[in-house]
């Protein structure tokens, strides 16, 4: 038994596929790669695969995570190479590492901060946007309505916005970075922040890219690629199951 965690990229060509479709695509790619995959028992055997925080349809990212159980050990780099040979354009394994010990299911429950790079084309200038950012951060609450078809509810996004800044501009394109709370205990979506900034109207184009996933329980947030160290440290230390 071995468990490997992999960081992968969901790129331009794959950005319109849903989280569930990404999961199925990874499953099929791993079957094609003929890895020694562990299967669940029962009439409907399936892979022991868990994915990190979902990425909304239309967004690219290169901080994406999955964990897979194998029946026998495979070198992480070999898994990465074999998988990449079977992944369609737009999905690419970037690095992989072994999780020591054995856990029934990896849930990535500790990942609670996501960082995005947002580029806006055909919108306000960098200076104008910087002013809006300052105004937004100065507010004590940022109430948005959520719910879609269901009864709407109000959510205050202000405590969920950790950082937000304009990081560059060129021609009619402005780049922003934002670090937002994410996950099951409440999170903000980058699209919500963009809307609060009064962007995305008309034909201005907004592109979102997730650049990092972090576990804030650590003293200083670390990129997801480094989260493994903490996971390896906490092994066997009574970490709660999912």
């Amino acid at each position: 038994m071995a468990q490997i965690i992999c960081r992968y990229r969901k790129g331009e060509e794959a950005r319109w596929i849903s989280h569930l479709d990404v999961k199925r695509t990874l499953e099929r790619a791993m079957r094609r790669a003929q890895l020694p995959l562990s299967l669940t028992e029962g009439h409907n055997p399936h892979l022991k695969l868990s994915l990190g925080p979902p990425l909304s349809v239309g967004i690219t990212g290169d901080a994406e995570l999955f964990a897979i159980h194998l029946d026998s050990a495979v070198a992480p780099d070999a898994l990465k190479e074999r998988l990449n040979a079977q992944l369609p354009p737009g999905l690419q394994a970037l690095e992989a590492w072994v999780v020591p010990g054995y856990r029934k299911k990896e849930t990535f429950g500790e990942v609670d901060v996501a960082e995005y790079r947002v580029t806006v084309r055909g919108g306000p200038s960098g200076e104008e946007l910087a002013v809006r950012v300052v105004e937004l951060l100065a507010r004590t609450e940022l109430i948005v309505q959520r719910g879609g078809d269901r009864p709407e509810r109000s959510v205050d996004l202000r405590p969920l916005v950790l950082t937000l800044s304009v990081t560059g501009s060129r021609d009619d394109e402005v780049e922003m970075r934002m670090r937002l709370k994410t996950g099951s205990h409440g999170g903000a979506r980058p699209q919500e922040i963009v809307e609060l900034l009064g962007l995305g109207e008309g034909d201005s184009m907004v592109c979102y890219h997730r650049t990092g996933l972090y576990a804030s329980a650590q003293e200083t947030a670390r990129p997801a690629a480094q989260v493994r160290r903490r996971w390896s440290h906490t092994r066997g230390s009574g970490r709660r199951p999912a």
Binding site: E13, A14, R24, T25, E27, R28, R31, N44, P45, V57
Partner: protein, 583 residues
């Protein structure tokens, strides 16, 4: 990605329908190709990608060094509106090339209620919807598929329609499409066996409904023989099947084990459209299974046949597949199990890996009516099969029935309810402690008379009659374990009218499309009122096509299509079945 699409995609449902890039999709250099095909399916991506025929042709064309095939599916109305409002022409998935820039547009004709989508796809591509209006620079528009056995309702929209199977013909078609001159290419197409070039024929209506003959002008053959491959084992088959990102109707390896059906049910068009019955050998199927599982990564293999248990050694095949793939977590599914040949051991073999649904089609409630339609199944067969299924661990069954069959009485309809209720009681006894989990799905469709069957002359029940018979069943089937579903009588009426349609029905299809009808097979899109107005605009009555009994001796609009079953033989069978009720 070009920026027009970037703006559109966030606004439409399921954008991945339009972006391609799937595993095993083929990308070739367009410049070095002699003929480029856009293979189109007139329904959503999810439906079309589950159609094996499209993948077969895609594979054959792309395996050839000189030919290229890309795919295109009907855009859902939200996408259609975005494309129209921004003036973006319909494009292929692989290279996002406008359909107009292909040498040929090949369109599958899967089902009558997709025909308005044929028109919307052509129009979105910027190609005139009527063949007569096309100019030398326009791509050839070629049809084919199950619907081609009566090509008349769509005859005026196509430059050519292949009657029958396309694996071999597609390369001959590609040679024609490689010719520069449109007129010369059409001449070449007309010489291909099984190819119908509608512009070379004239229809002379002789009364209401599809009465009248389609006859050749300029020396085209009087009858077009249906094309079929002689040796299924040697026929091309795609094992590198495209693996869609999005969940499609069938997300699994599909292996065709048999084509055609030896049963001869009198209502069934497939016996004409897919004849003769041919088997693939176990060795070939196992090899294809191995290649396909390796190339796709799917965890299920579905065995495709009209009646998979009629395959000559279905038990041997299933055993071999389960033995080979079971420990890899790859399941085997038989989507079309028949009640009379079903066996306990077969059920158990499938169960070994994964439970798939069991479906039985008794079609009617009385033996008398089953004899009329020549469905050779008895009640004993059904109960024996159900017994085998329940004792092997199944709790769910699905039953298919038809109402409105020729000679049917209300007693026959009531007998369906009676049969199901007795089966439910029997199942509760057989299931014992599992009785609470019993589910019997009862799916009731309305009989649709189809060309090239012994019942092609028979009238469909009036919509009110079908609705009344549905109410009889609703009253009879009140058990909580029974889930009753039926088809909308208006949908069945339209299906019958197009199914037995002539070129005048084609005008009604065009009128309906101009009124905004598309995706008519989708209940949320179906608008019967528009269709009634469209038939009126075309100057015809829907009921003359759906609800009229046709005289045996009149020429019919599809007589020029030769499916290998002589009209006289069909007539004798009809007279035998109907016992002189129809003249």
């Amino acid at each position: 990605m070009d920026s027009g699409l970037d703006v559109i995609l966030p606004r439409v449902q399921k954008p991945a329908r339009y972006t391609g890039g799937e595993w095993n999709a083929v990308h070739k250099d367009r410049g070095s190709m002699r003929a480029r095909f856009a293979l189109c399916y007139p329904d959503t991506y999810e439906v079309g990608m589950s159609h094996l025929g499209l993948q077969v042709l895609y594979h054959v064309l792309n395996s050839h060094p000189d030919f290229l095939a890309e795919r295109c599916f009907a855009p859902w109305p939200d996408m259609e509106q975005e494309l129209r409002s921004r003036g973006i022409p319909l494009f292929s998935l692989e290279s996002r090339t406008p359909l107009r820039d292909f040498d040929a547009i090949g369109i599958t004709l899967p089902y009558e209620l997709t025909y308005t989508n044929v028109l919307s796809m052509l129009d979105l591509a910027g190609v005139p919807v009527r063949a007569a209006d096309r100019a030398p620079g326009d791509p050839l528009v070629i049809g084919g598929g199950p619907g081609a056995v009566n090509p008349e309702p769509v005859a005026e929209f196509f430059d050519a329609i292949l009657i029958g199977e396309g694996e071999d013909a597609i390369l001959e078609i590609a040679e024609a499409a490689a010719l520069d001159d449109r007129a010369v290419a059409l001449e070449r197409l007309a010489q291909i066996e099984g190819m119908y070039v509608p512009s070379l024929y004239r229809y002379a209506p002789a009364g209401p409904g599809p009465r009248g003959a389609v006859t050749p002008v300029d020396g085209a053959p009087a009858r077009i023989p249906r094309r079929f491959v002689a040796d299924l084992d040697a026929a091309a088959f795609p094992t590198r099947q495209i693996v869609p990102f999005v969940e499609t109707v069938h997300s699994r390896v599909t292996l065709e084990i048999m084509r055609g059906c030896g049963r001869g049910c009198r209502f069934c068009q497939a016996r004409a459209a897919y004849a003769p019955k041919r088997h693939r050998s176990i060795e070939t199927i196992l090899r294809q299974a191995e290649e396909a599982v390796e190339a796709t990564g799917y965890d299920e293999i579905s065995l495709l046949a009209f009646t998979s248990v009629d395959y000559r050694d279905i038990e041997g095949l299933v055993s071999a597949l389960v033995e080979r793939f079971g420990d890899r977590g790859v399941g085997v599914a038989l989507p079309s199990l028949r009640v009379d040949a079903f066996s306990v051991s077969l059920a158990n073999k499938i169960q070994e890996v994964r439970k798939s649904g069991l479906t039985f089609a008794p079609e009617s409630g009385t033996q008398r009516l089953r004899d009329v339609i020549r469905k050779r199944v008895t009640e004993d067969d059904l109960f024996a099969a159900a017994d085998a299924a329940f004792s092997s661990g199944w709790n769910r069954l699905k039953l298919y029935f038809m109402i409105g069959l020729p000679t049917e009485t209300d007693e026959d309809v009531g007998a369906i309810g009676d049969l199901v209720n007795r089966l439910v009681a029997f199942a509760r006894g057989a299931l014992g402690s599992r009785r609470g989990r019993l589910q019997i799905g009862v799916s009731v469709s309305a009989f649709v008379p189809k060309p090239h069957t012994p019942f092609q002359w028979v009238a469909q029940d009036e919509m009110e009659t079908i609705a009344r018979k549905q109410r009889i069943l609703q009253q009879a089937l009140r058990d909580r374990a029974v889930k009753l579903s039926w088809t909308d009588p208006q949908v069945s009426a339209l299906e019958a009218a197009i199914s037995r349609g002539d070129r005048r029905v084609g005008r009604a299809i065009e009128a309906a499309w101009r009124m905004g009808c598309t995706f008519d097979a989708w209940s949320e899109r179906f608008d019967f009122g528009r269709w009634e107005r469209a038939f009126g605009e075309a100057g015809i009555e829907m009921r003359d096509y759906a609800n009229a009994a046709l005289p045996f001796d009149a020429p019919l609009a599809w007589d020029h299509v030769d499916c290998g079953n002589e009209k006289e033989a069909l007539r004798q069978e009809a007279e035998q079945a109907l016992g002189g009720e129809q003249s």
